[in-house]
Amino acid sequence: MQRAKPFAGGLGVSPNFFFSPKTGGERGFINSFVIRKHLVLYSPQRVAEMSLDLNKVAGQIEGMAADLKAEQKDKEAHLSHALEILRLKSNELDSLRKRIENSKTTWLVAGITNELTGSHKSRECPSDFAVIAVDGSHIDVDRHSAARCCLINIGSVVLRYGEKPDAALRSQPALYASRQDLTIADPLGSGEQALERDLLGIKRAVAEAEALAELCEGIPPQLPALALLDGSLIMWGLGGQAYPDYVKRELLENGFLQALNKIKEISQKTRVALASYISFPRSTDVVNALRVALCPYDPPDCDRNCSRSVPSSKKVCEAVDGVQDSAIFARVLGPGERSATFISRSSVVQKHYGDNEVRFFYLKGDEEIARVEFPRWAEERGLVDLIHTLILDQCRRGQGYPVALSEAHEQAVVTGSDREQFQYLVELALSEKRLPTATSAKSRSKKTRWI
């Protein structure tokens, strides 16, 4: 990691240069003072080399920070209000549940299970247990390369704790180069989709789940185990009309969900639980439930009642605007506690997931609030506490993030130089077979920066 050389003193530029474009005057002076502090990190030569002129953007960054500061006060008020509502409505769960079911909102509302404000302590960690985690990364198809191919790299980790501590870390790359690999074809022959960019990312998530399922097969029956994925279990990208049905079938029913089912079956004979961990969640499912609770209309119907012409200040639910679930539960939960379980009412989950209906709770770790998602069958089999306990344990071992996931990530990661090496190997293989390795002009111009 290259570090810029620090040097004493300023840049010899006058303070007035750094006028903030939004607000002038005194703020400009304060800005320049602060800017100077930041800019001492860079030596003059370094600044001249960069094509991103930080001098020019510094002011804008400062402005942003200032705005955020201003917003904070409002946020605080909204949060208090939200907490208030949460407390009030925790005794009126039935009515809220009914309201939510009947509501038609533009935003996603969490489903309530049997409580709203509950906080649960973790159980004692079992003496012997295992944690399996999978993460992946990919190299997308290079449009400017002579050979069309992409790479998915799956990193997996199995950690055993207790009497016989052990670890197995592994990474498994897979190259997708053939025509079948690189497309998803409609079995009815009506079309095909190229496996690249977002779709490739989804394909990767499927591969991760499949790898996870395979690893679960190796777990002994009596051993408590947690199978962990990074990010959300909800395949947002496949919701809506973004992709034709055959794509959804291939990747969701026959892909991701098939893997989840496999794990479900394994779980029936063993003590394996499945969950995913979302760090720093920005979800507002639960807050939106509070909005529903606040809404004067019954049932709430955003399109009808609050059309676009209605200013935001007139909407009652604005009172909790800008509040995230994590902020709420940061106040509600004690360290190590989890919230009540909620249901994801996203359309893709409700339409396709079945037994694997995604549920979630929020967990207060030492460092942050995390959102932990799990399938319904896990809750039905009473594995939520195990999930809670083991995830907390993993975070403790991993400086605030589940260590199995971070190790899996390390196994999966493809660095910039890895990427270059991969492209180099591809070109080498092609040239050995005397195939043209010409790349596009654009790619060449990107690779060599000339004057």
């Binding site: 704790y161 670890a167 870390l169 400086q399």
Partner: protein
């Protein structure tokens, strides 16, 4: 034939680097090891050992504040033993072809992924019958070259029936080679006296 203790991961004419098969178990400093390049056996002296993260971008952090023992750390974080590796550096001081021993550098370096073996007592004794390798050992640019030379002689003396005679003989060779630098000579002699 002794068990292999490591594998060459870097090689050049004058030295090579090997990774241990067992974490935290490198051969002692100064011990004689050997590897091969086709029909030539290459002998070297262990001049450094290091345990570090497999991925150079990741560095170990202290984890044992709550632990009573060091084993406890590895029990709590079983992935650690897979993320660390122990390597050792070897200074080449001779080679053998067939039955002949030569106390100078081999014509070719060893190959990467060659196995590395710890030399047994008989081999050590046979190799150190002649002290002709001392100029290479003392003249190397390695850090703490005198420590390495002293360690090597101490290790080698254990293979001989009369330790003291061997050390005196070695000491005299060193005295001749380092006659111009008494501080070095004194330092080495103090480290090899029985």
């Amino acid at each position: 034939m002794s068990e292999k203790i490591g594998e060459v991961i870097e090689a050049s004419t004058g030295q090579f680097v090997a990774e241990c098969y067992e974490l935290h178990s490198p051969p002692p400093l100064g011990s004689l090891v050997k590897t091969s390049d086709s029909d030539v056996e290459i002998y070297g002296v262990v001049c450094n050992a290091a345990t570090e993260s497999v991925d150079p971008g990741r560095r170990p952090i202290a984890r044992g504040k709550e632990e009573a023992t060091e084993e406890g750390i590895y029990r709590q974080h079983p992935q650690l033993s897979k993320l660390l590796r122990t390597t050792f550096d070897i200074l080449v001081i001779g080679h053998a072809q067939g039955d002949e021993l030569y106390h100078y550098l081999p014509p070719h370096p060893s190959r990467v992924h060659s196995f590395v073996y710890l030399c047994e007592t008989d081999e050590v004794r046979r190799f150190t019958q002649s002290l002709d390798f001392l100029p290479i050992l003392l003249g190397t640019k390695a850090v703490a070259v005198d420590e390495i030379a002293s360690a090597c002689l101490r290790q080698a003396s254990c293979a001989h029936d009369d330790k003291r005679t061997f050390l005196v003989k070695a000491g005299k060779e060193v005295a001749v080679l380092l006659s111009g630098d008494l501080n070095r000579l004194n330092a080495i002699l103090r480290r090899i006296r029985a």
